[in-house]
C-alpha cells in the first residue's frame, strides 16, 4: 500500500518534471519497496541541510528570473538588519542571506533555508529601518515556520519533484556508502529550480500562514529593539497602493488585503507590544543607506 502510493507519486512526476532523472530512480529501484521506503522516509521531514540545498536551488532559479540590485552598500545594510533579527530567533544558525532585487514592483520573498529577498520598489517606499525590519521579520517568520516547505509538501507535483530528488540522492548515497553530499545538493538544487518554473512564487501561501508570519514578525522586530509599529506602518502604506498601479501583481494576489492583516494584528500588537512602542524607528541610517535626501 505504502509502496504503491510512493510508486504512483514517482510515476506522476515523470511527465511534469522531465528534467529530473526519475526514470533512473525507478530502474535503480526494481525493488520498488526499497525506493518506496526511501520516498516515504524522505517525504517526512527535511533535514536542515536538505532544506538549505532546496532553498539554494530555488534562489538560483529565482535569480535567473530577476536580478540583484547593484548597490552593494544597500545589500550589506539589509543583511545586517536581517542577520540581527534572525539572531533573535530559534533558527539563528541557518545561513541567513538577504538580498534586494532590482525591480520597482513591491514584493518580498522567503526561501526555505534562510534566504529572504525584498524588491527595491518596496524598500524605497518605506520610511525607516523599523519598517524594513518589519518586512524582513515577516519573511524570517515564514522561514522559521517552514511555510514554503509546507506548501511544497502539500502540492502533489511539487512534492513529488522534491521528494523524488531526495530519494534519488538518498539512493546514491546508499550505494556509494556515504559522503555523496554533492549528489544530494545538486539534485535538490535542480528540484528547487523546477519548483520556481512551476510557479512556486505565483501561488499564495495559506492566509493563515500570512497572518501567522505577521504576528511572529512583529515580535521578532520588537526583540531586535525596533518599534513594533514599523510593520503596522508598512501595511498602511500597502493599503494605499493599487495593484494595477505599481505592477506588483504578485504581492497583491498572494496576500490577504492589508486592511484584513491590520485588523488581525490589532488583536495582538496593542496588548502584547504596546510597551515597546517607543523603541527606535531608526530613520537617519535608513535614509543614508538608501542614498536619499
Amino acid at each position: 500500500m505504502r509502496t504503491m502510493l510512493a510508486a504512483m507519486l514517482l510515476a506522476s512526476a515523470i511527465p511534469v518534471h522531465a528534467q529530473l532523472d526519475f526514470g533512473r530512480i525507478i530502474d535503480l529501484g526494481k525493488k520498488a519497496v526499497e525506493v518506496g521506503e526511501k520516498v516515504q522516509e524522505a517525504s517526512k521531514e527535511y533535514t536542515v541541510e536538505e532544506e538549505v540545498a532546496l532553498g539554494e536551488g530555488i534562489t538560483a532559479g529565482f535569480l535567473g528570473a530577476t536580478r540583484l540590485h547593484p548597490d552593494e552598500r544597500l545589500q550589506r545594510y539589509v543583511n545586517r538588519i536581517g542577520r540581527w533579527l534572525a539572531q533573535q530567533t530559534e533558527r539563528r544558525d541557518l545561513p541567513w542571506t538577504f538580498g534586494v532585487i532590482d525591480t520597482d514592483t513591491i514584493n518580498a520573498f522567503a526561501m526555505p533555508g534562510g534566504t529572504v529577498i525584498v524588491s527595491h520598489g518596496l524598500v524605497k517606499r518605506l520610511a525607516s529601518e523599523s519598517e524594513l525590519a518589519g518586512v524582513l521579520a515577516h519573511e524570517i517568520a515564514h522561514v522559521l515556520k517552514k511555510h514554503q516547505l509546507s506548501a511544497i509538501k502539500s502540492d502533489a507535483g511539487w512534492s513529488a519533484a522534491a521528494t523524488g530528488a531526495k530519494a534519488y540522492a538518498a539512493d546514491r548515497i546508499g550505494r556509494s556508502s556515504g559522503g555523496d553530499v554533492l549528489g544530494l545538493k545538486s539534485q535538490l538544487a535542480n528540484a528547487g529550480v523546477d519548483l520556481v518554473k512551476d510557479g512556486l512564487f505565483l501561488r499564495p501561501l495559506d492566509r493563515g500562514m500570512e497572518y501567522e508570519a505577521d504576528r511572529i514578525g512583529v515580535v521578532i522586530a520588537t526583540r531586535g529593539g525596533y518599534d513594533p509599529y514599523g510593520f503596522v506602518a508598512v501595511l498602511s502604506m500597502l493599503a494605499q497602493v493599487k495593484p494595477e498601479e505599481s505592477g506588483d501583481s504578485i504581492t497583491f494576489s498572494t496576500h490577504p488585503t492589508p486592511a484584513d492583516r491590520l485588523a488581525e494584528l490589532e488583536k495582538v500588537v496593542p496588548t502584547a507590544l504596546e510597551k515597546y512602542a517607543a523603541q527606535p524607528q531608526v530613520e537617519g541610517r535608513f535614509r543614508q543607506a538608501l542614498g536619499a535626501k
Binding site: T115, R223, A278
Partner: protein
C-alpha cells in the same frame, strides 16, 4: 486616449510615492479621539466620527499625527483606514487592466502578456519564472553579502537597538 496617457501618469506617481508621507489621505475606521500628544492620557482636542477624512503628517510608534477638520493632533495608528489615493484611469480595461487577475487566487492561469513592461519596469511575471535558468553566479554574489554575528551586533549597537525578551504573541493560548 486615456490608455495612452496612463503609463506616464503612473511613472509620475511612482517617482513621488516614496516621499509622500505628508500627502497621505486617510480616514478614521471608527469613532476615535484626536489627542494633543501621542499618549492616551493627553488632552482630547476633538472627537472624530468614524470615516472622518484626515491628512497623515507623521508617525510615532503607536500614534499617527494627522490633520483633521483644521486641527492637528494624534490618533492611534490602528484607527486609520487608508485607501489607494490615485485613481487609475485604466480601470476599464486600459493598458494595465487585468494585471491583478493574471495570478488570480490560488490558480495557475495562463498569463496574459506582460503588461508591466508598459511601465518600463522589470516586473516579475509568470513568464519570467517559467523561462528562468538558474543563475549560480548571482547566488554566489548574493551570499557574499551575508553579515556575520559580530557585524550584526555592532550594527545594532550603533543605532542603540537593545534586544528585549518578548514571547511570540498568542504563545501558550491558542493562536
Amino acid at each position: 486616449m486615456l490608455t495612452r496617457l496612463t503609463p506616464l501618469l503612473l511613472l509620475a506617481w511612482l517617482s513621488f510615492a516614496g516621499d509622500a508621507l505628508a500627502q497621505e489621505q486617510a480616514a478614521t475606521n471608527r469613532a476615535t479621539d484626536l489627542k494633543e500628544r501621542p499618549a492616551f492620557e493627553a488632552k482630547t482636542l476633538a472627537p472624530l466620527a468614524a470615516g472622518a477624512p484626515l491628512k497623515v503628517l507623521s508617525r510615532q510608534g503607536a500614534w499617527t499625527q494627522v490633520e483633521a477638520g483644521g486641527k492637528r493632533g494624534w490618533i492611534r495608528a490602528f484607527h486609520l483606514r487608508f485607501e489607494a489615493t490615485v485613481e487609475t484611469s485604466s480601470s476599464g480595461g486600459g493598458s494595465l487592466g487585468g494585471l491583478t487577475s493574471i495570478f488570480g487566487f490560488g490558480g495557475r492561469k495562463a498569463p496574459e502578456t506582460s503588461k508591466v513592461a508598459t511601465l518600463g519596469i522589470r516586473g516579475l511575471t509568470p513568464e519570467d519564472f517559467k523561462n528562468a535558468s538558474p543563475d549560480q553566479a548571482a547566488l554566489r554574489k548574493l551570499q557574499s553579502y551575508r553579515a556575520d554575528k559580530a557585524t550584526a551586533e555592532r550594527f545594532a549597537r550603533e543605532a542603540k537597538l537593545s534586544p528585549v525578551a518578548v514571547a511570540y504573541a498568542g504563545e501558550g493560548g491558542g493562536s
